[in-house]
């Protein structure tokens, strides 16, 4: 079994809301000081899903990432966690791409990698929240897809995917090769040991430039960004005070009653 996992390095989405700023002139985020980049959380779940298949059914796991100046310290975490190979599509031209161009480039790279049975992606990236790159890759490659997976397993000679629905789950059987997108329900990425982290530092990386993929201009771009802004939703909070927490709680309930909220 050959698995390809697509991952993206993003600004830490857990950064404090107060440190988040947008440059209104360029519509770009000003990276907050002291907030290091991280692997996109859903992509970590995707890698974990791949590693679980590797353990139960045997597989090689190739991690694929696209970007400009990808943080090697961050991306090597996937090797430390158990991926076998890392392919980086890295070029100055790979900045501010839309979902269409991103999916096209990743699909090109996957064709270049050649053999694969399963492609696993996170269900969306924490920065652009585009939510369509994975399924776009499947469409470009002409393979079936299952989205929003909470569990992926290879059993009885087929891939079984538990899809998380609003009120439960459905198990989908899918013919291979296939693409799966996963959410946080798939489980947190394992923490690699020190030895694995050290070994990952020494493993070679495969780096492909734009020219290697025949990429010159983002002709495939279809989505334009008109404006990025921070929504203002500050309300005036009526804080009920009292000598003890219990009295404050009772005061709060009374106030809600007076306001006819209760």
């Amino acid at each position: 079994m050959k698995i390809i996992v697509c991952v993206k390095v993003v600004l830490d989405p857990e950064m404090p809301a107060s440190s988040f700023k947008v440059d209104a002139a360029t519509n770009k985020v000003i990276p907050p000081k002291g907030t290091p980049p991280v692997l996109n959380p859903f992509d970590e779940n995707a890698l974990e899903a791949a590693l679980r298949i590797k353990e139960s059914a045997g597989a090689s796991v190739t991690v694929l990432s696209l970007g400009k100046n990808i943080s090697k310290a961050v991306i090597r975490k996937s090797l430390a966690a158990g991926a076998d190979r890392l392919v980086l599509l890295e070029d100055d031209a790979f900045e501010d791409l839309d979902a269409c161009t991103t999916a096209g480039l990743l699909a090109d790279a996957i064709r270049e990698i050649g053999e694969y049975d399963v492609i696993i992606c996170g269900r969306e990236a924490a920065d652009t929240s585009a939510g369509q790159v994975g399924l776009g890759i499947a469409e470009i490659l002409g393979i079936p897809s299952v989205s929003l997976a909470g569990k992926v397993e290879f059993a009885d000679n087929q891939l079984k995917v538990d899809r998380v629905l609003a009120y439960g789950t459905e198990t989908i059987g899918v013919l291979l090769p296939a693409l799966v997108t996963v959410g946080n329900e798939a489980g947190a990425l394992r923490t690699p040991g020190i030895k694995a982290v050290m070994e990952a530092q020494k493993k070679p990386l495969t780096v492909w430039k734009a020219a290697d993929l025949g990429f010159s201009q983002p002709q495939t771009r279809k989505i334009g960004v008109r404006k990025v802004f921070q929504p203002v939703h500050e309300t005036k909070c009526d804080i009920v005070t009292a000598d003890t927490p219990e009295e404050a709680a009772v005061g709060l309930a009374r106030k809600l009653r007076e306001a006819k909220v209760l």
Binding site: G131, E139, P144, S147, R163, A166, N184, T235, T241, A248
Partner: protein
Amino acid sequence: MADYQGVLVHCETSEGKLASIAAELLAAGKSLAGELGQELSAVLIGSDIAGLSQEVISRGADRVYVVDQPLLKDYLTDSYLQAMVKVIGQAAPRIVLLGQTHLGRDLAPRLAFRLNTAAVMDCVALAIDPATRRLLMTKPVYGGNAQAIQVCESDPQVATVRSKVVSPLPMDSGRQGGVINVAVDIDPALVRTRVLARKAETSTGVKLEDAAVVVTGGRGIGGAEGFKQLAELAGTLNGAVGATRPACDNQWISDNAQVGLTGKIVSPNLYIAVAVSGSSQHLSGCSSSKVIVAINKDPEANIFKSAHYGIVADWKKALPAFTAKVKELVSG
């Protein structure tokens, strides 16, 4: 290039009924079609759903495309894609709207890529740009820390719309409209997935998305035990229990209870956030609640910026007293 005209809305159904998102999308689509001076069409896909056509018209559609076939009983990406592609070929809409539901999230990207266009997912506002007449789509980015206004430069412009950002139009049962039955020759060889099993999570009480009162616990609750106390308060108010992502990730409560950008979107009359810090990701899922009440021991917690009422207190001390007083007030 074909001459794309009008707005097409996918009307999702659930257990033989129109889903609430369908009525919301019809209202959104009606307003956009009005701005363009064009028509609003709808598409119903499924098995035994043709009977819903009049309701779709009553909710604002000028025309309904109906694809009613037994093979479409279950949502499967490949079969629904074939149906949508056929209808879009016939209707040639400028704008296609779907819900940001598990169906829309799955179908919209594949549909857009198949039509060689693009989708913008999870829109919270839609408008027509007066200058270019193209669709301006506003969506959260960076985990809800920011919003982006995006434009799709190719037709049809595909968008998914978050639930509860548009109010449905009142039913006008006298409204007239056209019903067009579309037969799709679904090629089973091209349907590469199948449903092996389905498991409904047994939910006790009110569904989170429909609840008029939601009591949500955050990381500060500290364990599954605390959620029992939240359930008691929720039960008193005939409400539902929600949770933040960290609480779900720690398995203090089911993933189905997660409120936020990556969980469920709620807009109850009363939202009580207990030990919730108020991350953008979380607020994105509850900020349209009518009244937000926060109980948090940190006076600097971000939740107080979105809350209408609050107390700065340790929830362990405050909540039992609050629940007891609420019980007294609502029973009295």
